[in-house]
Structure formats: structure tokens, C-alpha cells
């Protein structure tokens, strides 16, 4: 909880991600279309030659469109890689020193790991692994099961 966070400011909501999980930030005109893509899945891009599936954070968190463009934050752990399309979000950071003063909250809603409050500002911690699992579910059709 106390590690540095990248903050995406979107339509009044501040979404936080561990900076250690950020593999890169890329801007594209439009991600490649995925066959039968639905829900918040928005396509595919590549980061350093590796394909990355992209989900639209605005749709996942039911936010109003936050500007045009596709600023994609690529997050990664040892097993998974996911692109978070944050549109034209403003970016800032929450540093470890500041986080010590944060009040840690519980449920932040679907696809979140909790909330942080600092000087009356609230931040929602994105559970991107849950977004990844839901994307996998959305992209599996009956036909690919049979």
C-alpha cells in the first residue's frame, strides 16, 4: 500500500496504480480491433514488440468520456500484461512519503483493491488483475469453448 503510485485523473475520479507494475505508457491512434470484442475491452497494441490487450478504464469504471486519444498505461506482473486505456487522463504521482499520511479505506467498488484518502482527496486503487480476468471472460465466446 505504501509503494509509489501513478495517479490517473479521469472525470473527477483519481485512479491509482503501483508504479512498480507500470511497464510503460504509450499513445496510439486506435488499438487494433479484437474479434467479437465487447464490454470494456478496447483492442490490442504492442509495447516493445509484445502484443498487449487493452481495456478502456473509462468504460470499466463507468466514467464519462475523458477526452479523445488513447493514452495507454501498460501494467505487468510475472504472468500477465494489460493495457489500461485512460483516454486523455491527467497523470500525477503519490509518493511513498505522502502515502504514510494516507487513510486506507476498504471497498472502492468493482475492479478496485480499496481507497486512499489524503488531504480530503480520495484515490481508488485499481485491481487490474481483476480487469484482466474479466477481459479474458469477455473475449471467450461459446464457439471458442466448443
Amino acid at each position: 500500500m505504501n509503494a509509489d503510485k501513478l495517479v490517473l485523473g479521469l472525470a473527477g475520479l483519481k485512479l491509482a496504480i503501483e508504479t512498480t507494475e507500470v511497464a510503460g505508457i504509450v499513445s496510439v491512434q486506435h488499438p487494433t480491433y479484437l474479434p467479437h470484442q465487447s464490454g470494456f475491452v478496447s483492442g490490442l497494441i504492442s509495447l516493445r514488440g509484445e502484443p498487449v490487450t487493452v481495456v478502456d478504464v473509462r468504460k470499466a469504471f463507468k466514467l464519462q468520456d475523458a477526452g479523445s486519444g488513447h493514452m495507454i498505461v501498460v501494467v505487468r506482473d510475472s504472468k500477465r500484461t494489460l493495457g489500461l486505456d485512460a483516454g486523455g487522463a491527467e497523470t500525477s504521482f503519490l509518493w511513498a512519503e505522502e502515502l504514510k499520511k494516507c487513510i486506507i479505506g476498504g471497498d472502492g467498488g468493482a475492479f478496485t483493491k480499496g481507497t486512499l484518502t489524503l488531504d480530503h482527496d480520495s484515490y481508488v486503487l485499481i485491481d487490474w488483475r481483476a480487469l484482466f480476468d474479466e477481459a479474458a471472460r469477455l473475449l471467450t465466446t461459446d464457439e471458442t469453448r466448443v
Binding site: 486506435h30 487494433t32 480491433y33 479484437l34 474479434p35 467479437h36 470484442q37 465487447s38 490490442l44 497494441i45 504492442s46 514488440g49 509484445e50 502484443p51 490487450t53 500477465r80 494489460l82 484482466f132 480476468d133 477481459a135 479474458a136 473475449l139 471467450t140 465466446t141 464457439e143 471458442t144 469453448r145 466448443v146
Partner: protein, 543 residues
């Protein structure tokens, strides 16, 4: 038996054992006469003896056996490891090295093994109190040893390289190929002869590297199937059935990663054949069949792909039962009713659906065929099941020979681009929208069914165009007017033909419908490779 194909492996393993012997003898000479050192030495000699016997290298086998015999006496404390024994063993080791080098050079094995054997016999038969035998100055010298007496340091021609290294090399060449595609596109419109020539040469060299890496990665199918006769034997003993396994075409070669990925599916299919396909002896006899059931594995080339067919002459799959089980597991009745028997057979690939009532320790729980299908498709292949009641089942796995770089055509649909493997394309035609009526295109004297790509992949409607490109393919289960299996995929347009490095689909997109791989272009764009077999299954329904 032709053992020449195992020579490289023999040389590689023997050189490791020879190095082990040298180290062991040095330790022994320094006084390390513990059980472990002697035991390791014994095993090295024993391995060389066994491998040489299998390969038919009799002199090496005999010499290794003589030394193994001496070590065995020391190991069993039947004789002490007296000083001087190691000197003789070193001489014998040089003799072994000479012989192995002759194998490597393809020369006749003509070193005087009898002389070495006599030296060892002399040690064995010498009384324990006798003076240590002096190294024999008359022992034959290694023919290739330099005359100065300084031993030659020579590395084996065979290298042991981790498979991962080849994976990385292939990925790097793949990226080079994609970068080259960009250069090629630019060179088409470039006026610079130097640039065009440079691009051509670059392509030639990249191709050469690619082919070298691919040939190093190719393994014969028999590497995969050699363990199956034992599996079938054990399973048939356990089940009380008589089963014969016949394998043909196993000398065909496939990419290592493809073969590796087929191991699990193949074992699962064979288990199903023995457990549920082949009937018990009494049932077979009652039905007028030979007592022994036959499982046939047949591999053959089909254009740029290899088909591995596994067939049994058992009872076949009860399609009605499959339909019932699929219905019970939640497949809607209307969907089941719309399926013909061929499509319904593929329902065995649904998790939990099985045609058998019997559960054995290895199969019958409806777990596995879904994994088999996923594994085959994950490797860029396709699985087709055919069954004849009372006559058996045939599973065909059509696999790409390599999973990496293919020749592909770029097609445009709306703002997107896709790749289609050239090997799957019969021809490409430009057509006016009026030439496609109710999903059929009239070509000469016949009509072929046509599938629009965009709607098939769920893409937003891009509006009607005046002209389209039709990619004519051959699709399983499709019947055109002339009884053939030609079908057309309708796209907005087609553009360049490229060499594309295809990566497998990884989660969360590993189960996407209609695509089987992805290429990252030189400019970073991602382009999907269409799964023509899967798309072909839609043609019938659409038309």
C-alpha cells in the same frame, strides 16, 4: 536398424562421459578412492558400453567393458585400487578417445583394443602384493595425437544448447523479418537502387538465418511417438484388451515447440482409444472383428502443414449420446438441433461431455478432449473428429510445420488489417457488389458460398462498397455448386504479401474466435492472422 541419425547424440553424450572419466581418474590418482568416485567412474564406463553396443561400435563397447570390469572389482572391494592402475586406465581412456574420434570422423574403428584389454587383464590377475604394473610403453598411441606428446585439446563437433536459446533466436529473427517487411514496403516506392539492393540482400541473409534456425529446431515425429508402444502395451495389459499400435510417417519433422505441445494431446487420444474405442476381445469376436484392436497413427504432409491422424477400429462414438450429454451440460436444444452429426461430434470437446459410461483411472470423465482441442488450436493447428459406428474413430490434427514465420497476404476490412496465410488461399478475385447474390458468388460455371469478414468477426458495419476482394479458400464441411469445398471470404481490399512472424495468442486473448496468431509489424501495429479453418465453419451457416 539405421543408427546414423543418433550418431550426433551418441557423440555428445559419450564426450560428456569421457570428460567424467578423466576427472574421476584424476581424483582417483590424487587419492580420492571413496565409494562415490569409484561408483561414478563405473557408471560412466557402463553408459559408454551400453550406448556403443546400441550403436554397433563393438571395439568401444569391448574396451569400455574391460575398464568397467576393473572398476567393478574395485567397487565391490574385490581388489584394492593400487597405485599404477590409474596410469593404465588413463592409457585405456586415450584408446577410447581415439575410437570415439574415429566414429566422429567416420573412419573405421581400427585401434588395437586387444592390447588394452590384455593390460587390464594383467592388472586383474596380478597378485595383490605384486609390484604395481608399469604403464605399457608399447600401447598404441592415439593416431590423431600430436607427435610432441602434448595431448590435443579438441572440442566435440556437437554442441548441447538449451531449447530456450533457439526460441529466443527465432523470436529475434521474427522481429527482424517484421522490420524487413517495413523496409520492403518502402523500397517498392523508393527510387534508390542502393536501398532496393540493400533491402534485397538483407532479406536474403535474414531468410538464410531463419532457415538455419528452423532446421535446428525440427525434430522427427518419432521422437514424440517412441514412448507410445509401451503406453499401449501397459494400457492393454491393464484393460485386458488386445491392442496393436501401427505408426507410419513418423520420420516427418515438426518444429520442436509444436511436437512438445502435442505430447499431452497424443497420450490423451491414445488412452481414449484403448479405454473407450477398442472393444473387449469377446465383444470384438462377437461382432466379427479380429481379436486385437488396431490403433493407427499416420503422419503425412498436406501443403505446408503436417496432418497427424490417430484412428482406431473400435466401436466409434455414439453421437446421440453426445447430444444428450451436451444438452444436459447446458447447450441449448435449438443449437444442438441445428448441428449435423459431424458438428455434433465436436461437442466431445466441451468440458464434461463424454460418450462413455465407464470411467477408468485414465479417462472417461469428459475431461481432456477440451484440453486436446485447446492445445492443438493453441499451436496453430486444427482438430477434426470423424466416427463411423462400429468401425472406429479418426482424429486428425492438422498442424503447421513451423509456428513462426509464414508468407501471408494483408487484407483490409474497415480500418483494420488482417493476415491470411498464403498456403490457405486458392486465389483472389476483385468483384462488384452485384456479383455476390444472397451469399453466393458465381464463378464461371459454378457458385461458391461467400462470407463477409467484418460481420463474421463482429466488426461495426462499415457500409456497402462498390467493389470487394474475394479470398477464395478451401473450407472443411462447405459444399459449393460443383461438390467442392471452395468458399470466399469477402474483404474490402487486399494489399501486400509479406513474411510474417506469427506469435501465439496469449491470455486474455488466447480463446479469440476467428484468429490463430498475431504479428507485430515493423511500425508496432498489431495484425491478427485469420484462422481460415474456423472461419470456414461459418461459411455454411452464412450462405
Amino acid at each position: 536398424m539405421d543408427t546414423s541419425k543418433y550418431k550426433a547424440l551418441y557423440l555428445q553424450e559419450t564426450s560428456e562421459h569421457l570428460a567424467g572419466i578423466e576427472k574421476g581418474l584424476l581424483d582417483l590418482e590424487k587419492g580420492a578412492q571413496d565409494d562415490q568416485t569409484v561408483d561414478h567412474l563405473f557408471r560412466h564406463y557402463h553408459s559408454i558400453k551400453g550406448m556403443s553396443a546400441s550403436m554397433g561400435y563393438e571395439p568401444i563397447q569391448k574396451l569400455a567393458h574391460a575398464q568397467e570390469d576393473l572398476l567393478d572389482r574395485i567397487r565391490q572391494k574385490r581388489m584394492a585400487c593400487r597405485p599404477g592402475i590409474t596410469a593404465v586406465l588413463f592409457q585405456c581412456l586415450d584408446g577410447l578417445k581415439t575410437l570415439v574420434r574415429q566414429v566422429e570422423d567416420g573412419a573405421p574403428l581400427d585401434a588395437d583394443v586387444a592390447h588394452f584389454a590384455a593390460m587390464i587383464k594383467e592388472i586383474i590377475e596380478a597378485p595383490a602384493v605384486a609390484a604395481e604394473p608399469a604403464p605399457d610403453k608399447t600401447a598404441p598411441a592415439a593416431p590423431s595425437a600430436p607427435q610432441t606428446g602434448i595431448p590435443e585439446l579438441k572440442l566435440s563437433h556437437v554442441m548441447k544448447v538449451e531449447g530456450r536459446v533457439f526460441d529466443e533466436l527465432l523470436a529475434t529473427v521474427g522481429d527482424l523479418v517484421m522490420a524487413l517487411s517495413t523496409f520492403k514496403t518502402i523500397s517498392h516506392s523508393s527510387r534508390s537502387i542502393e536501398f532496393r539492393e540493400g533491402t534485397y540482400k538483407l532479406g536474403k541473409y535474414i531468410n538464410a538465418i531463419h532457415h538455419s534456425i528452423l532446421s535446428a529446431r525440427m525434430l522427427p515425429i518419432e521422437d514424440l511417438t517412441e514412448g507410445l508402444p509401451r503406453l499401449v502395451r501397459d494400457m492393454s495389459h491393464r484393460s485386458g484388451k488386445e491392442v496393436e499400435l501401427r505408426i507410419t510417417g513418423s520420420d516427418l519433422r515438426l518444429d520442436r515447440s509444436t511436437l512438445e505441445g502435442l505430447g499431452g494431446p497424443l497420450v490423451h487420444i491414445i488412452r481414449n482409444c484403448v479405454d473407450h474405442g477398442i472393444e473387449p476381445v469377446e465383444v470384438r469376436v462377437r461382432n466379427g472383428k479380429p481379436k486385437a484392436g488396431v490403433i493407427t497413427i499416420n503422419a503425412f504432409r498436406k501443403k505446408d502443414r503436417v496432418v497427424i491422424e490417430v484412428a482406431d477400429d473400435g466401436a466409434g462414438i455414439n453421437v446421440s449420446k453426445i447430444r444428450e450429454r451436451a444438452k444436459a451440460s447446458g447447450v441449448p436444444a435449438e443449437k444442438l438441433n441445428a448441428m449435423d452429426d459431424k458438428e455434433a461430434l465436436m461437442l466431445v470437446c466441451l468440458p464434461g461431455v463424454t460418450s462413455t459410461d465407464a470411467v477408468t483411472e485414465t479417462s472417461g470423465r469428459g475431461v481432456g478432449m477440451d484440453v486436446v482441442k485447446a492445445a492443438v488450436e493453441g499451436l496453430g493447428g486444427s482438430l477434426v473428429i470423424a466416427s463411423t459406428p462400429g468401425a472406429g474413430v479418426r482424429l486428425s490434427m492438422e498442424m503447421p510445420i513451423t509456428t513462426s514465420i509464414i508468407k501471408a497476404l494483408i487484407v483490409n476490412e474497415g480500418p483494420e488489417q488482417f493476415l491470411i496465410a498464403l498456403s490457405r488461399i486458392e486465389r483472389v478475385v476483385e468483384v462488384h457488389k452485384g456479383e455476390i447474390a444472397n451469399g453466393w458468388y458465381a464463378t464461371g460455371t459454378s457458385r461458391i458460398p461467400v462470407l463477409p469478414l467484418g460481420p463474421t468477426l463482429g466488426m461495426p458495419d462499415a457500409g456497402e462498397r462498390e467493389f470487394y476482394s474475394l479470398i477464395i479458400i478451401h473450407a472443411h464441411g462447405v459444399t459449393d455448386d460443383t461438390g467442392g469445398d471452395a468458399a470466399g471470404i469477402r474483404v474490402d481490399a487486399f494489399s501486400d504479401e509479406i513474411d510474417a512472424y506469427i506469435r501465439p495468442l496469449q491470455p486474455p486473448i488466447s480463446r479469440l474466435w476467428g484468429v490463430s496468431g498475431i504479428a507485430v509489424m515493423g511500425d508496432g501495429r498489431t495484425v491478427f492472422l485469420l484462422d481460415v479453418s474456423q472461419i470456414g465453419t461459418k461459411v455454411k451457416a452464412w450462405s
